[in-house]
Amino acid sequence: MIPELGQFALILATMLALLLGILPMWGAVNRNIVWQSLARPAAFLQFALVVLSFACLAASFLSNDFSVKYVAEHSNRLLPRAYQFAAVWGGHEGSLLLWVLMLTGWTAAVALFSQSLPLNMVARVLGVLGLVAVGFMAFILITSNPFDRLFPIPADGRDLNPLLQDPGLVIHPPMLYMGYVGMSVAFAFAIAALISGRLDAAWARWSRPWTVIAWSFLTFGIGLGSWWAYYELGWGGWWFWDPVENASLMPWLVGTALIHSLMVTEKRGSFKAWTVLLAIAAFSLSLLGTFLVRSGVLTSVHAFATDPARGIFVLCFLAIVIGASLTLFAWRAPAVTLGGSMGLVSRESFLLLNSVLLVVATGAVLLGTLYPLIIDALNLGKLSVGPPYFNLVFAPLMVPLLFVLVPGTVAHWREARLNDMVLRLRWIALAAFLLAIGLPFLFGEWSAGTALGVFLGMWVALGSLQHVVERIRKPGRIGGSFWGMHLAHFGMAVLVLGITGVKSFEVERDVRMALGDTVTIAPYTFRLADMVDVKGPNYKAMQAHVEVLKNDQVIEVLYPEKRRYFSSAMPMTEAAIDSGVLRDLYVSLGDPLPGDTPSWSMRVYYKPFVPWLWAGVLMMVFGGVLAALDRRYRRGSVSPLQTAGEALSSAS
């Protein structure tokens, strides 16, 4: 009964989304106030129905209702309670339902927080979001229904993939989806603005907080995924250039370009067409990511659904949504005014460079991700593109990006004086340079790459600090967006320093260890003290007790495990990590090795600065949140002064 209720709610929600996609839009064209004002209640009701549908699926999981096929495939009685709930999005069907839940949630949030927007804008934005929701809900109902029943009813379910039985992965998909789907709001604003022809400062201003919040979620989601891969996969890696990672990185790169470009459009009225294109691209890449993951068109550990019907559906959906948007863009964008003029050296030019570099980087990642598919489609053979390609093309693009970041934050709009900027930034440039020369010696060997990384990280960090100090000395209230920007930039600097540190100074030892054996990575010595059997709720494990010694003192005991879940034959590695401010000690237990004395293969890593990666990502996330919550976005509609300024700048 409950699953049917869930399905019924989802069908109702689909029909409501269709209404939401048609009536208010039509009302906006005909200036029909009643139809336009249907948008908000429809958005709320749609969200309520999807919540109900999602709750029904969750209830089926928590009550072990194995007559539901999806539940039987992704849960079982032994699974701990929290994972039974998380298993709702542990497979293809449920993760789509989660996606729709997020989408309708964002739609309802726009409906709630759009009091200052003109009604016809609200009607159009919610209408576009409704149309996107129709596509996804139809996808679920036609090809991937999570409420399908199973007969005969199995006594127990198959279990959630052990890889996913982890707190990191419980919140990783929701956060990532919040980011992906959040980009749909920026997209809806852009489409609404294109339709109405109101591509102006007000549009950019409305879009900004939504885009920045979505970007924060996306950043957090990607960071969580990386963190999970680091401690769960047992390889000590934190980024693999896996197609699915790339699928989340591409919207992030374009989203980053978008939040910077929106600023120019708001403040100066320039880059309008470019900003709209970025908004379309950010959401399109989110959809493309979904396509790549859900269709199984690329092989990847994540792509758990290979089903041609699904692939064809998503491809058609992709073609319709993105094709229609780009057609609209080609039709309406040429009419857009150019906005204020800009000098060769100005904040606009730095931000333009930022956009271009990020978009080129996205293109490089897209090419690398799709290259195997393109080569295969052209019958030129099978190949794969690995990290060497990505590192080779990605890093050189990030170097100038990080370099222009600092002048970009202090340059004046319209026209900046190069001399003034050199004078202002010379001390931090010198400091960053000296640190780059000196710091690498402190941690080990000096190399040009390490020095470059340190220089860029320090340059951005010191640039942000200097700007903050200068600003605090001046009178006047400092807005959230100022703090947010600098926190996020500072986080970027910490991330860059972290990546530089771990790439330059990590040490890895692959060893065979019997009880009592030691391995040394100066100044730490690891000793295999004991090996015991432990039993979890739904698995058995071998657990090693590894003592970490420094100066002959035990400073920490690590407990890496090799787990065997009852439901699957695949053994799982649980690495043990000791985190400090400057380093991680990472031990992962391998297989028992044949021989006379019992011994095991063991992977021991010294990973400097890894905690800096997570710290950097968190700073970026909080920076984004801080910026989005800035009071000025919550003030009433655009002030007359600003509208006048906008008119002036577009007239000039």
């Binding site: 067409a273 294109l277 379309i280 691209a281 399109s284 396509f291 269709s295 199984g296 068109v297 690329l298 092989t299 041609p308 692939g311 064809i312 491809l315 992709l318 073609a319 993105i322 094709g323 780009l326 057609t327 863009f329 080609a330 039709w331 964008a333 040429p334 799709l370 195997p372 598919l373 393109i374 295969d376 489609a377 053979g381 099978k382 071998m542 065997r564 699957s568 034959a569 053994p571 297989d591 028992p592 044949p594 021989g595 006379d596 019992p598």
Partner: protein
Amino acid sequence: MNKKFLIPLGLFAALVVFLAVGLTRDPREIPSPLVGKAAPDFSLPVLAGDKPFSPADMNGKVWLFNVWATWCVACREEHPLLVEFSKNSKVPVVGLSYKEIQPQDMANGPMKDAEKLQLARERSLRFLQRQGNPYSLSVLDLDGRVGIDYGVYGVPETYLIDKQGVIRYKRIGPLTPQLLQDTLLPLIQKWEAS
């Protein structure tokens, strides 16, 4: 209309074409360098019986060589189809029981080779008794060396070997009814006739 605003649409259209073609391909289909080459020789103990088996024993016959193990979940999915196939076809299916003994079987300490062979035989025979036996015989590749020679990439895998002992087709992953019908059976007919 200004042409440069059409560029994104054009790029996207090209992308859709590639994605559409890509959808018709199987990314997991990996071309094997062994196709068209002689099947690597070996001599391994069989599951039931004392005489070891080697591929030369099959000369003059078209046969299937199927890599499996009792711990392999996908093999279990494939198994009923193989059983069905063996009932309806004269083409013999030889099994390669691949690395039946896994490291976790030795959690209580290392095992001698004879012990491993014993355990692998017991477990495999029990499995075949319960699930049906599609194999005219199955050989035991405990250390996985023959698997290396054949480039075993994932279990299950299936090879089609012709009368001259040349590999004509390789499938990584479980066989499906569609694959059997559309690809494997026509190939079998072709090589039977030659």
